[in-house]
Each structure stands twice: as C-alpha cells, then as structure tokens.
C-alpha cells in the first residue's frame, strides 16, 4: 500500500465506501491519484508494467509448452512467476516434469505390452458437502476431493522401444484410450465406485492375510503399499492432500502371477483421466519417483548422463519443495557405490523410497538389479536379490557403502534409530 492510504482513510478520500462503479467511487479514485507522490506514481506504474510483462511472459511460456520446448517454456514461466503471475508456478511444474519425462523412454501400453500412466480420480465420494450448496449465502471454500493418485509403472523392453510400428501402435492405443474415456458415462462411474469399494474390502482382507510374511521381494512392496493405500482409500471420508501418493510398481516381467493379479485388482479401482498426468502438480512427484524407479527397473535407459538426470531431478525436487507440495523431499547426491542413488520421501504416506539410478558405467549386469526401498515398519533383511534395507531409520554404514554395488552380498549394517545416511 502507498504512504497515503492511512491519510486517505482518515480524510474519507478513498473510494472504498462508495458503490463500485458509481460516480462517487470514480471521484474518490481520481482524488486518491491526485494525492499520490512522485515515488508512489512511479511504483504503481512499475506494478502495471510488471503485470503486463509477467502475463506476456506467461503467454509465451504457454506457447512453448504447447510446442514441447520445455527449456524455453521454463525460462518464460520463471519470468512470469517472478512477476507474480498466478498459475505460472503450476505450469513451471508441468514444464519441469515434461522435461524429465523426455529424458527417458516412456511409452503407452500397446496391445498387451506394459504401460505407464497416473490416474487421479476426482470426486465421487459423497461426504455430504453437497448439502452446503443450498445453505446460506456465505461462500465456503471446499478442498478438492482428490483420491489418492496411483501410479502404475512398467516398462517396454529396449528392443521394442523404437520404430514406426511402435508409433502407429501408440497412436492407435491413444485413440483407443480416448474412445474409452469418452464413453465413460455418469452411471458407469457410479458403478465403478461401487465396485471399487467392494474390491477394496476384498483387497484389504487379502492384504491383511498376506502382509505378515513380507518376503522382502517386489511382491512384498506391492502388498505392503496396496494394503496401506487401501486403508486410506476405503476410509471414504478422508480428504486426501495432494502430496499423498502411493507408488505401485508393476513389473509384469518379474512379478509372480499372484502379485500381478493383485496389482491389477488395485488398479482396476481407479480410472485414468483424460489428460496426461504431467500437467497435474500433485501427480508430479509420484511421476518423478516412478519414472526414476522405472529407469532402473527397466534396466534400460535413455542415453543421458547420470549427472544430467540428477540435475534435472534435483531441479524438480527443489522446485516442488519451494511450492510446498511436499514437506520433506530431497535428493541425496551419493558417492561411491551409491552413485546414482536417489532418496525421495513421500510424506503423506510415510514411505521412503531409495531409488538407485544406474549409470552405464555400472555395466549391464547391474541393470537388472531391482530398486532398493526403505519402508516404514519393515524389518526384513535383503533377500537373494538384495531388495530391502533392513528397517526404517537405519544407517547404512560406510564400510558397506564402499564395499561394492548394491547386490546380494552387500547387506548394509544397521544402527537402530539413526537417520539413513548415504555415502
């Protein structure tokens, strides 16, 4: 506010008491402008210029986003954000994620091949808030009722990653998806919701039965996460915050049939949205997590240096932290045998996931290594595939860290209660 505001209030010059659009309001405004000092005039002119420049930059950012020029889009959107343009930060998220997405090979499912998408299911839980609509004149802000975003990931084998055939299949797959989505009618949604609830109950029961003997394998992760998700999901009254995420890794190549079926059941409770998830800020981190897990799980990477991937990921994470989408989320820049490891924390679900991103220098033998995950409440020793670190809050000792790549023989030592440390 300018220096004259108080005086104007006292003098009654300001137009706030007048009816908007009335001659009195206009006179008061003119009087207030006449009363402005030179510095205030300059400042207000700069504000107008800044707004105009900001929105011009925003429009340019949008245009480059449309064209898929993520770097340039980021530059303009950053300028727009600096000038205080609302919405610029969201689009900056989108540009960052899209840039990350292009670093890897990520393709939609084609004719039974694996596929990757994030689903975000809005609404259907009726928590009675609809009643508020007719009650009273006061406007109530209602938080978006976003059900837990679920990420499903799996990879396309390297040999099938390119080629015209694949492109055509992609197009037809996207067309199919579009048709499917267009066909989604309201009553169908209700039916799905009812089915989802029924299945949720069933899966919860299954998960409870299976949760006890966690075997420290990929299926254990799936069961554990699925059970956690279902616990949240079926508490229908919960309004989920955007940063609550669940990661479901569907490696259909390596999972046992039972686990695959389990995952399929979980995924059948959600429906894809018509838009790609990259545009959704709340899906962004889960996309990042999934993607980077995916790089490793696939054992196949885009020809991008580890340092580039880390830089991009770090930029994205730092950005999300600034946006306060996540309370705690960081990238550990590792050394030694943990080079390429990235630790991300999904606060909403209290899940730590340590992803190890392999470099080509690791050699092909490591590309088939699975990810290493650190989860609350698990106290498993690594199994034959070296999957798990032992427990939440454990410390990975230096001797283990430098002893070699993460593998069967490299069981990290644990200091209970300590914070994980990556060397």
């Amino acid at each position: 506010m300018n220096d004259h505001t108080t005086d104007q209030n006292q003098d009654g010059v300001r137009g706030e008491a007048a009816v908007p659009g009335s001659p009195e309001a206009f006179s008061a405004l003119m009087a207030s402008i006449r009363a402005l000092g030179k510095q205030d005039r300059e400042r207000l002119r700069e504000q107008a210029d800044s707004a105009e420049v900001g929105f011009d930059a925003y429009a340019l950012g949008q245009e480059y986003l449309e064209r898929g020029e993520w770097g340039t889009a980021q530059r303009w959107l950053r300028i727009a954000d600096r000038h205080g343009v609302p919405g610029a930060a969201d689009d900056l998220d989108r540009a960052l994620i899209c840039e990350l997405a292009e670093l890897g090979d990520w393709r939609p499912e084609v004719g039974g091949k694996p596929r990757c998408f994030i689903t975000r299911h809005c609404d259907p839980v009726d928590d009675g808030s609809g009643e508020k609509l007719s009650g009273g004149a006061q406007v109530e802000w209602r938080a978006p009722r976003v059900l837990l975003p679920v990420v499903r990931w799996s990879s396309v084998p390297a040999g099938e990653a390119g080629g015209q055939e694949h492109e055509q299949e992609e197009v037809s797959a996207v067309r199919n998806d579009a048709q499917l989505l267009a066909a989604g009618a309201r009553d169908e949604a209700e039916q799905i919701l009812a089915d989802a609830r029924r299945e949720a109950e069933q899966i919860r029961a299954d998960a409870r039965r299976q949760a006890t003997p966690l075997s420290g394998s990929g299926s254990a992760l799936l069961h554990y996460l699925s059970a956690r998700w279902m616990d949240h999901h079926t508490d229908a009254q919960i309004t989920y915050k955007p940063w609550q995420v669940l990661l479901v890794v569907d490696d259909s190549a390596s999972l046992e049939p039972a686990s695959r079926q389990h995952v399929r059941r979980v995924l059948s409770t959600v429906r894809p949205t018509r838009k790609m998830p990259a545009a959704e800020a709340e899906g962004a981190m889960s996309l990042v997590m999934t993607r980077w897990l995916g790089f490793w799980e696939a054992g196949r990477m885009a020809p991008v240096a580890v340092s580039s991937r880390h830089a991009a990921l770090e930029r994205a994470v730092a950005h999300f932290l600034r946006r306060q989408l996540w309370d705690s989320c960081h990238v550990v820049v590792p050394r030694g045998s943990f080079a390429g490891a990235t630790r991300l924390k999904a606060v909403g679900m209290d899940i730590d996931v340590l992803c190890r991103l392999p470099s080509r220098a690791d050699g092909p033998s490591l590309w088939r290594q699975r990810f290493v995950a650190l989860l609350d409440g698990l106290s498993e020793t690594p199994d034959a595939t070296g999957l798990w670190f032992p427990a939440h809050g454990s410390v990975i000792g230096h001797d283990q860290a430098v002893s070699g790549p993460l593998s069967t023989h490299c069981a990290p030592s644990v200091v209970p209660g300590g914070e994980p440390r990556f060397l």
Partner: protein
C-alpha cells in the same frame, strides 16, 4: 466510462479472492496502477485485460505478503455450481449433483475459464490475457467446457433445453 463498466466486475473478482478487509485497498491500488499506466499509453489495445492482469498480480502479491495460500477458486467451487444452476429449479437436487459431478470431469483449465466467465463475469478478452491464451482459443475452451457439461447432464438438458445443432 471504463471505470463505470469495470469497477463492479473488478469488485466481484476481488471479493472471491481476498478477505473483506483487504479488498478495498487492493481495488484502489489496482485502479491507481491501471490509470497511471493507461494515461501513459492511451492506445493500449486491451485495457480491460490490463486491468485484470494488474488485479491478479496485486492479489497474488497480497497473499504472498500475508504468507497465505490463495484460495483455489477454480476447483470444486460451489459458487460455480450456483452460477451454472440459474436455470435449474431449486428442487432439482439430482441435477445439482449431476452438475457437481460433471464439473469434476472438466479440466482445471476449463473450470478456471468457467469461473472467470460465469462467476467473475470477466470479459473473454481479459480471460485470454489472464490465462496466456488467444481470444479464439479461450472461446473454444469455454464452448467445449459448456458442451462437456451439457453432455454430462444429458437427461436434464434433453428434457429442458433446445436441441443442439449437429456437429460438422
């Protein structure tokens, strides 16, 4: 003239984005800023857009200074349902629920355009400026959003609205 036309709309725009005590200050500062810029460039091609651009930045700046998160006016807004329900009888609870559900199926961009147009009554040209889009593109988004809403409420509109033109 411009003030008379736009002051009410600006007021409506600010009411939904700021606490009552702050609205008058931001409104005045927006107008001051606008007039000073406009008098310096009276040939400005889109003064309405400029006014709302300044207002948007002032609102964002205000929230930033107060360390508040701006209200998410574009998502699941009950007032949007009310604004779109003007033709629906109040006893049509099912239609209202349909509309709420249909709004949930729109994209964030579509909802944002609908809010700006139907609640804030911001002119399309100004909406285009605020969203970094062209005017034609904004109109298209608005049209598609309304079409999607109509499609989602087929039952109601079949009974009440005039028949839709065939698509080319």
């Amino acid at each position: 003239m411009l003030h008379r036309e736009l002051d009410k709309k600006l007021d409506r725009f600010l009411v939904r984005r700021l606490p009552p005590n702050d609205q008058a200050d931001v409104r005045q500062e927006t107008w001051q800023s606008f007039y000073l810029a406009w008098t310096g460039n009276p040939e400005h091609p889109n003064p309405t857009g400029l006014l709302f651009q300044i207002a948007s930045c002032r609102v964002a700046d205000h929230h930033r200074k107060a360390e508040r998160t701006p209200p998410a006016v574009d998502i699941d807004d009950p007032a949007l349902v009310r604004a779109l329900m003007t033709e629906v009888p109040q006893d049509r609870v099912d239609a209202r629920q349909d509309l709420e559900r249909a709004l949930g199926g729109l994209t964030a961009q579509q909802r944002r355009v609908l809010v700006l147009r139907h609640i804030d009554e911001v002119p399309v040209a100004a909406i285009a400026g605020l969203m970094g889009l062209g005017v034609d593109n904004t109109k298209r988004i608005l049209k598609l959003a309304m079409r999607d809403l109509r499609d989602s409420m087929t039952g109601y509109y079949q009974a009440t609205a005039r028949p839709r033109r065939e698509q080319k």
